[in-house]
Subunit: 340 residues, 2 copies
């Protein structure tokens, strides 16, 4: 048996020559990888752009995640940002930092995961940058096409709108908890939700077409992200009883709840990284396939003193997610990348 | 005296609220930072995109570079990629990884450096992502507008074309050498070239307008990057005597050469990160302001056996930068991010 080939054994161009052939092409690509920059079509004279980074030992551990998992997740969390604007992803670029001691196979595996996630949605990888570093860092920037529609922002929710969600909730957090407790055998499906999330990306475009007034993808937890819509729109969101409207998720979390002695509500409301689409629709609109109504947009709040701040405890159900006015974010439970 | 405020002392949203106001707006921005994604104008139905990453202890050391320096450099190396396509930068996004022990002032200083470099060229910062990590990583993705022109690729050089360069050569490498030898007082100007490069970005657009047939920015050294044009175009590049055509750079490097006992040729030919524009122009074209002719495109090479590989030594002057055909890169001196 020979020693595995390491990043340090190859020159940058040798490594790139193993990665480039794995990357998917796309119809929007005019100039692909290999020059100073790529050139991408933006048919309606605008493009959507977002960037998201995954950092080893902060967002993933190599002991749990394969290169493929990390590449898949890096792509998916970015594709979800694009979808949440109502855009179809055309292309992405990747800045990859890797330690010289890393196996080359891990890097090509990452490229395969990234490529498969992109290819599933017709997105091309049009460029990248490679650097040495102490830990793996994957910074992806994604570009989307609004196809002539207006972008669906966080700020458009209006009183009377229906709050709806497509995708799953709490699964990624439950999967992570199982991994941390070394109990992944209890529910490989939940662990898979953490390692390779499968957000309903088409639902983002469907929601935009159906006339969604506000949308985001749930990356930091339902409460925190609903709070962002509420804050940006200056409205109050009333969430219906999660045990009723999210019964499917409650059931899916049950094996992990029993194993770890956890209440499902914490994962449902504050678990991040499932990247479902949370959107508001005008009353009477038929919700696109995949969306379920989970609440209602209530009247506008004018007094900032009404602002309710969570500090980690889960409010009683039924609850009110209430954030007002100008505050761009809500201090509540959910993911904070600098908190412990 | 109070202890400096650290990243760990703030929540993510508190930190972002200190960064957002520092970022420059731009005329191409339709939706700026704060939503899932930004929306940027692409008036001619295409956009140019490139990504480049700076990693602590690989591309910079915090002992030498201030936050401002790192932000400036991260922006400039990306702006240069856009310029080298003949595009005007409209916008960029930034993924920033920072250790919790970092001072908040260092981070806001980085934002100021990034902002100043962008504002100088009318580019907006339209989005970003922030994460904790062991070391600072700054991954910037830049977008440019070709204003109806075709992109200037590496592959368009034709026999008879003039090879020309705008900007400086060897300065950044000499500045780094002075820092490494703890001799920065010998030439603060050279050290500044390393810490805050000032590439001639307008020259990229000027070259495109003047009809440049091929172009890139010199980020990995003149020989290596000229080799990339030669390889992509399937031509041979004859560089004239550097002591003649690059006399200004030779003179500028002199103080560092004397102090460190170095020959300027090594820095001139293999020193990277000055980000000057290296372009080829049809014979007879008047070179845009800032460009100096440094060589000539010779006949097409058809035999790959003609390929000349450098392994670190500097060829005799006058020399031939000769790389042929299909090989996407040249193995030669210059920057390799995984080499020692």
């Amino acid at each position: 048996m020979t020693d595995p080939l390491l990043v340090a054994d190859l020159s940058e161009s040798q490594l790139l020559s193993r990665i480039f052939p794995l990357l998917p092409h796309g119809q929007a690509t005019i100039v692909g990888p290999g020059d100073d920059a790529a050139v991408v079509r933006a048919p309606d004279g605008r493009f959507v752009v977002s960037t998201d980074v995954l950092v080893e030992n902060h967002h993933f551990r190599r002991a749990w995640s394969s290169g493929y998992d990390v590449g898949w997740r890096a792509a998916m969390q970015n594709l979800a940002d694009c979808a949440a604007m109502g855009a179809r992803t055309t292309s992405l670029v990747v800045a990859l930092v890797i330690p010289p001691s890393l196996e080359v196979e891990w890097v090509t595996d990452l490229a395969r995961g990234l490529a498969d996630a992109c290819a599933l949605h017709g997105a091309a990888v049009v460029g990248g940058d490679l650097s040495g570093g102490e830990n793996v860092v994957v910074a992806v920037t994604v570009h989307g096409d609004l196809e002539g529609r207006g972008p669906v922002l966080r700020s458009g929710a209006r009183p009377g709108d229906v709050l709806a969600h497509a995708g799953v909730l709490g699964r990624s957090a439950a999967g992570l908890a199982l991994l941390e407790a070394d109990r992944s055998a209890v529910s490989p499906g939940l662990v898979e939700s953490f390692l390779r999330p499968a957000p309903p990306l088409d639902s983002g475009v469907d929601a935009a077409v159906a006339g969604a007034t506000a949308m985001l993808d749930v990356s930091d937890g339902l409460l925190r992200d609903a709070g962002r819509i509420a804050a940006a729109s200056g409205v109050v969101l009333d969430l219906e009883d999660p045990y009723v409207v999210l019964a499917g998720d409650v059931a899916a979390l049950q094996p992990a709840c029993e194993e770890l002695g956890t209440d499902p509500l914490s994962w449902l409301l504050t678990g991040g990284e499932d990247h479902g689409m949370l959107a508001t629709f005008p009353e009477g609109v038929q919700l696109p396939q995949g969306f379920r109504a989970i609440g209602r947009v209530k009247g506008t709040v004018v007094e900032t003193s009404d602002r309710q701040t969570w500090t980690g405890s889960i409010p009683e159900s039924p609850m009110t997610v209430m954030v007002c006015g100008a505050a761009p974010t809500v201090d509540g439970p959910g993911w904070d990348h600098f908190a412990g």
